[in-house]
Symmetry: C3
Subunit: 386 residues, 3 copies
Amino acid sequence: MSRSPVSRRDFLKVAGVAGAGLTVGACRNASAIPAEATRAAAPPTPTKEPTATATDTPAPLTPTSEPTATPAPVAQAETHTAADMAAASPAQAGNAWEEMDRMHEEGVKIFLDGIDPTNGFWGTPLEYREEDGVKIFEMTCQEVDWEVEPGKTVPAMTYNGIVPGPEIRVTEGDTVRIIVHNEMSQSTGVHWHGVIVPNNMDGVPFITQPPIRPGETFVYEFTTRNSGSHMYHSHHNALEQVSKGMIGAFIIEPADKSKEPAYDADYVLIMNDVGIGLTLNGKSFPYTQPIVAKLGDTFRVRYMNEGVMIHPMHLHGLEQLVIAKDGWPLPQPYYCDTVNVAPGERYDVIVKAHTPGAWAFHCHILSHAESAHGMFGMVTAVVVQE
Amino acid sequence: MSRSPVSRRDFLKVAGVAGAGLTVGACRNASAIPAEATRAAAPPTPTKEPTATATDTPAPLTPTSEPTATPAPVAQAETHTAADMAAASPAQAGNAWEEMDRMHEEGVKIFLDGIDPTNGFWGTPLEYREEDGVKIFEMTCQEVDWEVEPGKTVPAMTYNGIVPGPEIRVTEGDTVRIIVHNEMSQSTGVHWHGVIVPNNMDGVPFITQPPIRPGETFVYEFTTRNSGSHMYHSHHNALEQVSKGMIGAFIIEPADKSKEPAYDADYVLIMNDVGIGLTLNGKSFPYTQPIVAKLGDTFRVRYMNEGVMIHPMHLHGLEQLVIAKDGWPLPQPYYCDTVNVAPGERYDVIVKAHTPGAWAFHCHILSHAESAHGMFGMVTAVVVQE
Amino acid sequence: MSRSPVSRRDFLKVAGVAGAGLTVGACRNASAIPAEATRAAAPPTPTKEPTATATDTPAPLTPTSEPTATPAPVAQAETHTAADMAAASPAQAGNAWEEMDRMHEEGVKIFLDGIDPTNGFWGTPLEYREEDGVKIFEMTCQEVDWEVEPGKTVPAMTYNGIVPGPEIRVTEGDTVRIIVHNEMSQSTGVHWHGVIVPNNMDGVPFITQPPIRPGETFVYEFTTRNSGSHMYHSHHNALEQVSKGMIGAFIIEPADKSKEPAYDADYVLIMNDVGIGLTLNGKSFPYTQPIVAKLGDTFRVRYMNEGVMIHPMHLHGLEQLVIAKDGWPLPQPYYCDTVNVAPGERYDVIVKAHTPGAWAFHCHILSHAESAHGMFGMVTAVVVQE
């Protein structure tokens, strides 16, 4: 098995969260926050600089929501289209704000109700067989209809019928053979983005190999040398093929893990935009899945941008320690809350789940994350359970 | 008072500059540079690597502007529209270049003539009262018409009627209570971007709290733990609300300032784009304000991007030492002249005012800063006075 | 001569490459890779962490291209337009994929056949004369038709008739005098982007000098103080003038080179986009030129973004060590494979040519690099010769 058992174990905890407190009440005054998070929060322990006074005095939590007026009368109750809502000025649109709130709430409710550790959002390992010390993987390039969200299916170009393609995870020094079948109606080639390979394994048709034509098979084989968070994707008619889904993670674990940071779970987050739309791991909010962590645990996120736009990923409430860029360890990790990932870049971060609750986690280009209809696109969450 | 007295003191020096030499002469050969800057410039003292030969030999300053020909005849004198100017090819457009120059000059003249330390461009502190050791702030969400520049008023959504909203500045370990009244015609929620808070204070409607509906009040309360340059903004219908102005600085001074760099003044620069247009601190050039510094002084700039585009901020003549990202001190500060700030990011820089004069300071995406009509949008300056 | 002899020497090796194995065969099964690279590749020596097992076991290179089916019949043979190709769905477009492949191959063939060390792609030094210890340069601003690629000529605004303008390269501490003649039909001004200068030499019309009107000459003079990879460009009507080509490199070698990394060749790569189109050093693929390096050699690339968009430059197969930003040495260099360069930024990287072959090198915003017609725009390559 190429996938770390740690993240699998972690998935199993989610059911408890969904059952415990993450359903959204029908009453508008009810908060969607987990029951346990409404108690006085445990003092967070930011890893930057311990400050005795700050951590010794947890904030009293006394939110008050005091309705003081009844706003505009309800004149019309039909559902508005997105265009209507965006255009609606307050004066024109009677109860537009109530409809807007309803739609915002609906999205969050779908997201929280839909937590499902089995749906494959956090990656599908590509199985392999081993022969003579070579790990042998097999992939088929296929055109499929991909469901970005229920009711929104897009024509996709894929590895093994899924977006992103299955995750390849090996150890530095492993020799891999990857057999690629092209069942699509156009040629392709697979580039191992970030992986140091011999030139004729680099996957650029007409420069390092002939294209893999429809119906053909090409075999890539190389010994992995540089550990880190890498990617694989098409390098032929790539604007179309990559945008439409021919993307996947190629993770090389270091042979010597003694220099790796410790963490309890490991997540890959692949961004895409123009082809299949604004997505995280091939899905659009509210049909993305959260990271679920136990209070005090630490997790790693591997950002990979396969789109054509930058995506500055902002995590609420929990700082991110950036430890690697493009798979290469940073000599000097640094903290932040927003990681700006450009096309082709990868960043690895470590997050300590020091404060319980449901933390929004999204691209901070707001047009990639929220409309008058509520959050959409490149949005997910980190749920920290006590 | 939550605002540092240092920057106030600094503002007072501006009048002298405006009076001394910063007015643009009518004669086209007259330079707009301050009189003192036309003398042999003092050798700059770049903080990188002192180089004896470079600093010991100030450059002789002998610019010569030698008109050698009279260009194209003046055929038409009416004012061109922006579209006209952009499209005008030299052959077609008789005196287009003279009109272009006139517009360029006019903008600079308005900017320099308009230096006014009292106009609030560099921030309005949010006053507070203290009860039982809690600093209590109050803000009202309001829809107003906001004047981006004289004659250009846009429908804005604001905190306390201004864009950006008033600056909150506290000290690490302070407990704050922020009472938010919503007088707008749609719901809202306030997210304390970058501030570590208990989950139910995070400001994301339907995830961590109910929305603050029109007419309602919500009370946020938490103890600040992570110092740095943070922000607050709407997290409900945020593309519209943030773009239209629901943005502000939330600065947490460190409890232990001994590790802070020394500086004489402190400036917050908030970028915005799609909603109210390309603006710095809610204003468009030439109606922005410069930073005015005394030769030899050091100042801090806290960049905050609340727009949906990157804004690489380029400062002429004076290098920037980047000391923090998203409020977190960088373990290894670095020098540069262009700081690329993505949406949601903040960067803190330290600048030594080592060379006198008026230095352009602008977003280097040129379509955010200059047209055929001259500079506009995300442009300001640093004026270093001898 | 202001240009390092090292890069000239390097250019001379290219002829051998072009002659040896870089021509693309007519047979579709023939690879474009150099003959020597199809042998078992020499083990790469990544500079990060030597891994004995990885480097001792070169991967066996056994690609197999096995056509197993004949795809869609050929119904139409005429050349498609770009729009046709982009829109062509496989079902609609009979032999569209074969035509697509043909166009992809054609571009690569033009690129490889066109390797020409004499064509000026990698820069034209601006010659100077020396008087009384001052290095005197002369430039003329000219409107010309610039050939981005054969058959695609755009109206450009230039220094000395070329895009980018000629490279200025001096040594820290040098006093330079740059005489700028304006022969264009509009005014201009030259900003020395990143170079620390006295204010009245900063090149911003109406702020630091009068504009240089058509027919006029302006003389800039200053002593260089901060070494590094800087730029010069127009700062008047700059969106038009810079976009259309008024850009160039201004490189200041450090007076004390003992702290510089060692390298065998030095390349400047200037990006541009909206005015003359998506270009590297003023040319669009396949009319760009590769970097040609000898196996084991080290080269430096100085990225300079003069466009209005980010350009994350991805190099295949060879890691990049980022050593400087905006001309300032980074206190802590870091490895990566994709350098995201924002407008106005410069990054210097060092690359070790540790693996032979032709490595694609391109902006990873795929819409800047590839269409259904094949690669175009911001694409070049690094060719490592054994």
